[in-house]
């Protein structure tokens, strides 16, 4: 699959996404007042089934909750913020403080996760747009619960390859782990790579 993007294109794409994910991590850190540790992002081209399996392996094959936004520019795709289901309440507690009773926290869990997703995913997309000097439209965030295939919501799971990037992050003091994922189809990945290439050329030209 390495011929879909060359090494230098893949490197440029990864670097741009790395900066955008860093912006998202900074927002999350500020939101929950905890340090966020990030894994090194790595772009891969996988079948949707393999991407879902990869996500299931990371989440211990348990249900997760996710916030998904579709985005659209000269390229389009999905960006997702994913948490193990059994940890999502801890995250909501971090956001809203410990003063609220458990039943209120549970009632607000979905809305709180949507707002966390809204902030984190837009920080990422916004950084991406600002770096590339383009505008990216995004849908309102949607809440999803389930295993990898449901969360990634592949339209054609048996045929298309997708550009998949998964970053593991951890809130060190609070013991909460989560995942940020980008999914684009191949045509979009090529458009995205072209936009990144133009950006790199502009930077190099000074």
């Amino acid at each position: 699959m390495t011929d879909i993007l060359g090494d230098s294109e893949r490197d440029a794409v990864t670097e741009i996404l790395n900066v955008a994910i860093g912006q998202a991590a900074a927002s999350l850190s500020q939101l929950v007042e905890d340090e966020v540790a990030l894994s090194v992002p790595f772009v891969e081209f996988l079948s949707p089934v393999t991407a879902a399996t990869r996500l299931d392996e990371a989440t211990g094959r348990l249900d997760s909750v996710a916030v998904r936004q579709r985005f659209q520019s000269s390229f389009s795709g999905d960006i997702l913020l994913i948490f193990p289901e059994n940890k999502s309440l801890d995250l909501v507690r971090s956001l809203l403080g410990t003063a609220l009773p458990l039943d209120s926290l549970t009632e607000l869990e979905q809305e709180a996760l949507l707002e966390i997703g809204n902030i984190i995913l837009n920080a990422c997309l916004g950084s991406l747009a600002n770096q590339l000097g383009i505008s990216i439209e995004s849908s309102l965030p949607a809440y999803v619960r389930g295993r990898g295939a449901r969360i990634l919501d592949s339209k054609h799971p048996d045929t298309e390859l997708v550009m998949f990037l998964q970053v593991d992050f951890a809130l060190t003091a609070k013991g909460v782990q989560g995942y940020l994922a980008f999914v684009m189809d191949i045509a979009s990945a090529r458009h995205f790579s072209a936009a990144v290439g133009e950006y790199v050329t502009r930077i190099m030209a000074g």
Partner: protein, 123 residues
């Protein structure tokens, strides 16, 4: 400083809760009213005249940017700012063109304090 009224417009109840808490920490006696959409905000200003308005952008219905335009002309004295996770440069530029401020989520206490210390527009 006399009490001022703040209108918080956001489709997320949690976002409104967090913004309300941040305002109340700085100005415990100020009245805070909430709207869950741009349409609700435009209805709310028929009953109350907020001095400060904090406005989300990505909302169902007419959305924050169009709401900002209408609020700007219907509440000329109010100090209005977007409060949004959408940190893209064009959103900041549009805010400037409309004549409203821009604040990024998550809301920083210092930015909020500065906004709530802004002088009201002469009416």
């Amino acid at each position: 400083m006399a009490d001022k009224m703040v209108l918080v417009v956001d489709d997320s109840r949690v976002a409104r809760m967090m913004t309300r808490a941040a305002i109340a920490k700085l100005h415990p006696t100020w009245p805070i009213i909430e709207a869950a959409s741009g349409e609700e905000a435009l209805t709310a200003i028929a009953l109350d005249r907020p001095d400060y308005v904090l406005l989300d952008v990505n909302m169902p219905g007419i959305g924050g940017m169009e709401t900002a335009r209408q609020l700007r002309s219907r509440c000329p004295a109010a100090v209005i700012s977007l409060l949004t996770a959408n940190i893209q440069d064009p959103v900041r530029h549009q805010a400037g063109e409309i004549g409203v401020g821009f604040m990024a989520k998550p809301l920083k206490d210092e930015a909020l304090a500065q906004f709530l210390a802004s002088e009201l527009n002469p009416s």
